[in-house]
Every structure is written in C-alpha cells, then in structure tokens.
C-alpha cells in the first residue's frame, strides 16, 4: 500500500554487508558500512575493540556509543575515513556518553555539527584522529572537531583538526587533561581549553587559525577553569579571517591572535614559539571585551583574568595589521602607519577590589593596555604592572599520558 522507503537494513542485509567487507572502500558514497558500525556500537561490551578497516565510509545519521570501556580503531587518519557529507540526522558525527573510551587512527569528515563529542566520561583518549571539513574554512561547517566536555582524565595526542567553525580541539568543563603533539589549522580557534581545571597543552602546532590557542572561562557553567599550562607549542600565523558564527564566544576573536586568555585565572604560558599574528601574539582579556553583559551571568562568575604568567616565550613579527577598525585606528594613532602593536594586548579590565591582577610577564615584550573599560580613551604601553613573578603551576599527572 505504501511507497515508504526504509533505509533500515534487515538482518539479512547486515549479513551481506559483513560478508562483502573487503570490497568496501572506493566510493565516498559507500553506505553499506553504516548499519554494520551502528550495530557494533550498539552491541559493544566493555573491553571491545571496534576495528574499522581502511576505506571511506558514508553515513546519513549520527553515530553514538553509550558503553564504557570501548576502543574504536581505524587503520590510520588518512586511511579510515568516516564521511558525514550526507548526514540528515544527529548533531554530531559520533556522540560518546561513556568512560574508558579510546578512539584512534581514523578521520571524521564533514559532519553537520560537531565531529566527535564525548559528553561526561572518565579516562578518554583521542589519538591520531583527524577531524576535517574538507571544503576548508566556512561558517556552515560544524562547530567542534574533537570535543570532550565534562570529562576527566583526558588525553588528546597526535590528532589533526581542520576547518571547524568554532574550535578544532575543544576541551570544555573538564579536569586533568593533556593535549599534546596535535596540529590544528584553519579553524576559528585552533585549540581551546574552556572552564577546565588542570590542563597541560604542549608540543602542538597551531597554524592558520583565526586564534591559535585559547584559554577561556565562561559563566553559568558547572565549573570554572584554573591551572592551565600552555608550553612548547608552535603558534604561527593564525591570521585566517574569523568565520565563526556571530553570537559564539570565538566570533569575537580578532584574526591574527596567537594565544588568547579570556576571563581565566591561573594560566602559565611558557617556552612557546609565537610568530606573525597580525593582531597580537598574545591577548589577555575579560569576557566584557567579548561583548558579554552582566545580566546574563551568574553572580559567582569572575570575569577578570588573574594569576597569568608568561615566561620564556619567543615572539616574532606580528601586530602589523590588526583585525577590526578600532584596533587598526588604535595602532595607527599610537604607532603610526608602519608601526605595529606590541606583542601582548591587554584589554585593561581589572577587579578594583584586588591589590593586583597578577598578570606577570617575564618575557621581554611590551604590553598594550587598550583601556577597554575607558572606551579606549587612554590606551597606553605599560610594563611596570606586569613586573611580577608567579610560582609555576603543577604539571598534570595522567596515567594514559605516561
């Protein structure tokens, strides 16, 4: 009676798909694997390793995993490709709500929303995973590539994240995190650590994003961030035009931002190689500069960045072509047409009740106080308030990273 088309595969079809496993590969539109993988994810038991062979596999629905202790393993980030170009359902490529989860050696491409999201879980490992929107930077791309949120004991290593419309690698509201040896490029934010307590971000390359590495604190969430160390990273030429969605926090990042600390306390930035950011190599700011108002914030939120330490970083170039009319005008007025903004840009928001914000800069750089609270009326280069030194933050101890 009906012409209803079911994409449902009966068990017989599953069996067929499994038997023809070795022929799957060539075409990007190979949908036959979808049901196989969906079934494996549903049937998974703790301790299972789901192995995905070499090939490009197409999905029209989001995948999800709810069982603890599962590993998903491909044959390599350029060999096993899960393509979501035809996705019509699901807000992620893969959504994981489970602990003791490892995903490695595969790529997730062109998901309509986030590529891989892990929402609450302990002991999470992303290793040698690529997330990419293959059309390059585009506002229509999904928001996050690798996206653990409200997780504990997280390792992200050897991954590549390309062209996310928010952050390529985004760690949110998590505890005890290591992000190392990754490459993030052509995202709005390369690597973003947000509302996270205890993170070591090192040996990464962030290049050609709008902002290279971000350490952000946002209001109204379950926890506020502290103790984030960003070191030994290469942060180069993050000058891509901001293609973030208006209304998202990262949409306010000026193109040409190297490392950005926003409303976050206890951040140590050291031994990084930071180069050629047309706005500034380092920005320290308050959420007020991202156009956030008091009314939408819980009273418990501290909007000011405090206990920030910069030392041992090397700075090259940059500041020559800041993004946005105000900063351009500011640069020309203060430093001339051919001049450049200093390496460190601070918006000047400060908690008047504190003796000092303890923004301590040991590096031999100038800091521009942009006087945002005074509506840019008295911008000035300062050094004296930053001549302090903080105790080093503790290193992260994480079993999966040993």
């Amino acid at each position: 009676m009906s012409l209803l088309k079911y994409s449902l595969a009966a068990t017989t079809m599953l069996a067929l798909a499994a038997c023809s496993g070795k022929t799957v590969s060539e075409t990007p539109a190979d949908m036959s694997y979808q049901d196989t993988l969906l079934t494996q994810l549903i049937d998974a038991k703790p301790g299972n390793v789901i192995t995905i062979p070499e090939g490009t596999f197409s999905f029209d629905r989001g995948l999800s995993l709810t069982v603890d202790g599962v590993t998903i393993r491909g044959a390599g980030m350029n060999k096993t490709i899960l393509s979501f170009k035809n996705q019509v359902q699901g807000a992620e490529g893969l959504l994981v709500t489970a602990s003791d989860f490892t995903i490695e050696n595969l790529a997730v491409e062109d998901s309509v929303g986030d590529a891989i999201k892990v929402n609450e879980g302990d002991n999470i490992v992303f290793r040698n995973v690529r997330t990419e929107w293959t059309n390059g930077p585009d506002t229509k791309n999904g928001a996050y590539g690798l996206y653990p949120v409200q997780t504990t004991n997280v390792l992200i290593e050897g991954c590549v994240a390309i062209a996310a419309a928010d952050a390529g690698i985004y760690v949110g509201q998590s505890k005890n995190v290591v992000v190392r040896n990754n490459r993030a490029e052509f995202n709005v934010a390369g690597i973003e650590i947000e509302n996270t307590i205890g993170a070591d971000v090192y040996n990464n390359v962030a290049v050609n994003n709008t902002g290279g590495i971000l350490v952000f604190n946002m209001p109204n969430l379950t926890q506020y961030g502290a103790d984030v160390r960003v070191y030994d990273n290469k942060v180069y030429e993050n000058n891509t035009k901001n293609f973030g969605h208006k209304g998202t926090p990262v949409a306010s990042i000026p193109a040409g931002s190297g490392i950005v600390i926003n409303s976050h306390d206890k951040v140590e930035i050291f031994n990084n190689d930071i180069r050629d950011h047309r706005t500034a190599n380092v920005i320290v700011s308050s959420i007020y500069t991202s156009n956030y108002g008091d009314k939408g914030m819980e009273d418990t939120f501290d909007p000011y960045p405090e206990q920030i330490s910069l030392h041992g970083n090397s700075y090259t170039g940059g500041g020559d072509k800041p993004d946005g009319l105000e900063l351009k005008a500011l640069k020309t007025a203060m430093f001339g047409l051919k001049g450049k903004l200093p390496d460190v840009l601070w918006d000047g928001y400060i908690n008047e009740e504190l003796e000092s914000a303890q923004i301590c800069i040991q590096d031999d750089v100038e800091v521009l106080n942009a006087d945002m609270p005074g509506k840019n009326k008295n911008p000035r280069v300062e050094t004296e308030p930053f001549a302090c030194k903080l105790e080093p933050l503790p290193a992260i101890s994480l079993a999966s990273a040993e």
């Binding site: 012409l3 989001g62 999800s64 709500t97 928001a143 949120v149 208006k246 926090p249 108002g293 939408g296």
Partner: protein, 366 residues
C-alpha cells in the same frame, strides 16, 4: 491477573472481538511487536490488549507532527506516586508509544489534529492512518529497557530494529507539501532523551509524571482524570488531592507563562536540566529553574556553533528574532536545531508560543 478491563469492556462494548492478553518478556526481545500483545492489529484497526490503558500528556513532545498512541500495562503490582518525578513503576510494566500519521496516500501524511481518542472500544483505523513505529519501554529487573519496532508496509506487524531508520515522507498541510526525514532512533539514541541524568545515565520514561498525567482522558466508559483512573484500576497506589498539573500548551486555560514552561519542560528539560546532557550549555529549562541567566534570559551561548543563527542571546527579551532559542527551534539544519533528536520539521505552533513569550518580556540586557 486483572479482570476489570474485560468487565468494563463487556459492559460497554459488544465483546465481539476477543482481546489479546499482553505478555511480559523478562529477558528476551521478541523480533515482532505482536509478541508483546500490548497493541495489536485486528479487523483493520490497531487495538490495545487486555487491561492496557491509553493515556495522554497535558503537553506532549513534538515529533514531526506524528500522532502518538500512548499505552501503559502494569501486569503485577502498583506504581508508586511521586510528586515531582516519574511515577515509580513495578517490574513488568510495559509502556508503549505508537507513532502514526493520518494518511491515505502512502508517503504523503497529513498535518491534522487527533479526531477522537483511542479507547478500549474504539481502535485506530488503519485505512485512515499510516503506522510508522511503536516504541516500548519495558521495566525489567535491572531497570527500563527501550525497544523500537518499525511497522511493515502492510501494517500487519512491526519488526524490532536496533539500528533505527530514516523514513522519508511528505507532510501535507492545507495543500502545502513538505518532504521530511522521519528518524526512528537507534537503541543508543534512546538514551539521548531517556537518560535525563547524564551522570548516572539511568534510563527512565519521561512522560508519566503526575503533573503531565493530571488531566482528563475520554475512555470507553467516560471522561475522567487519568490519575484517578490509574488508581481506580490499581495501576497507581495513591495521589494526593493537591497534585501538580502541567499546563496544556495549546489551550488558553492557563497563563502564557505556564503553557510555555510546560512546553519547555516536555520538549527540552530531559536534556536541559542541571544534571542532564545539555547542562554543558548552562541553559536549564526544567520547571523548577527560576534563575534568569540559566533560563537563557540575556545569556550568551557557550558552545552553540551554528546554532546561534548569528544571534547574541539565548533569549533576548522582547526580541524573538534576536533569540537563539527561537532560531534553534525554527531551523531544520540537523547541526543547529533543537531538539537534536526527534524532529526534522519545524513545530510552527510551538515556535509561535515561544515567540509570544519572548515578545512579552520587558527586561533589557544591556
């Protein structure tokens, strides 16, 4: 064994067709829906099994304009009343929800209101309706388990699916045709809504809370408050005279605020609550929440991505067109829309309700 339903049915109905006795499967998951006997096809109608009660919610979840026949069967024991939470059901309880559309033309289904409630006496006429799927929540020893059955094209029975499906249909609304992808969830996705605490991840029903059930249903033997009916048939132990009641979202009996909060409660709060999967956003739409920032008022997005629609606040008072909440309800882009699961069409009437609520607010954000 209970006899009340057959008695009532025989008093009031012709007793012509013998009713199927439902079966509780404590362990195995039968491949066919008919093995449960909760809803069955008989003489061109979808009918309920013996002792199975239909129910409705004051304000239901929107699912692409699908109609829903909800039933409950409690073979042994009695559910315990809970003031603010889901009723505590005994092992053996089977809750079913059949998704269907008025339709005489295959893939073309009609956007229409329910004409009359399904009762023990009057089933659902298959010649006028297209059955899509029947979802079960089964209370077993270890807890609730979700099962999903997809109806075959001949509508003789429904087959168990674990991986779900996309069903392509076209919605006809006064001559306007909108193609859409109806999604039957895979088993893992059931937890996307039915595990409202993302830390414990315990699965549970969402609808059968006292406040949602506290309304009338027209049964074969007359119209009566559902909680009273459940007590009468022994499905529920008790209910105080003062019971919470959710507003009916699309009737002007309650205040706009009450109707709106009931709508958000049912459509959003299973994720958007302080322990839910969407607590990552800081937006809490559960009825208990009274914090304005957590309700979204003047609140900026945290991780909405394309879901902002270029707008600045979750709710911009007085300015629905600048409110992210409304954008996410209107868009059909799976990467941006809310809810993330369970719809691919826009709930136009729901959007209008939220629009009216935001329009009437007077706070100024800046």
């Amino acid at each position: 064994m209970r006899f009340w339903a057959s008695l009532a049915a025989c008093l009031l109905a012709s007793c012509g067709a013998k009713k199927v006795n439902p079966t509780f499967h404590a362990v195995e998951n039968p491949a066919s829906l008919s093995a449960w006997g909760v809803v069955n096809v008989s003489k061109g109608e979808l009918v309920m099994g013996e002792s199975v009660l239909p129910y409705s919610l004051n304000t239901p979840l929107f699912t692409d304009y699908a109609h829903k026949l909800r039933t409950i069967w409690v073979p042994e024991g009695t559910a315990q009343y809970r003031e603010g939470d889901v009723l505590e059901f005994p092992v053996g309880t089977v809750i079913s929800k059949t998704f269907y559309y008025p339709s005489n033309e295959g893939d073309i289904v009609r956007k229409e209101k329910d004409l009359r409630p399904v009762t023990a006496k009057a089933g659902l006429k298959l010649s006028d309706n297209r059955l899509i799927e029947t979802r079960l929540l089964v209370r077993r020893d270890a807890g609730w388990e979700p099962l999903s059955y997809i109806w075959n094209v001949d509508e003789t029975d429904a087959k168990l699916t674990r991986i779900g499906a996309i069903v392509k249909m076209t919605l006809a609304d006064k001559g306007e045709l909108t193609p859409f992808n109806y999604a039957v969830p895979n088993i893992n996705q059931c937890a996307g809504c039915h595990a409202p605490n993302n830390t414990t991840r315990v699965l549970s029903p969402i609808g059968p809370k006292a406040r949602h059930l506290n309304g009338d249903y027209t049964y074969a033997d007359g119209t009566i408050n559902q909680l009273d009916k459940w007590i009468e048939v022994g499905y529920l132990n008790e209910a105080p005279t003062e019971r919470p009641r959710s507003a009916v979202w699309n009737e002007n009996l309650d205040t706009l605020d009450a109707r709106l909060r009931a709508y958000l409660d049912v459509n959003c709060a299973h994720c958007h609550n302080p322990v839910g999967p969407a607590d990552t956003s800081g937006l809490h739409l559960n009825p208990e929440n009274q914090s304005l920032p957590h309700l979204g008022i003047c609140k900026n997005a945290v991780a909405a991505g394309s879901g902002t629609g270029g707008r600045k606040y979750d709710i911009a008072p007085g300015a629905p067109d600048n409110s992210i909440m409304l954008y996410r309800m209107e868009t059909r882009d799976p990467g941006a829309m809310m809810p993330e699961l369970g719809r691919s069409l826009t709930h136009i009437e729901g959007v209008k309700l939220v629009e009216a609520w935001i329009s009437g607010m007077e706070t100024v954000c800046e």
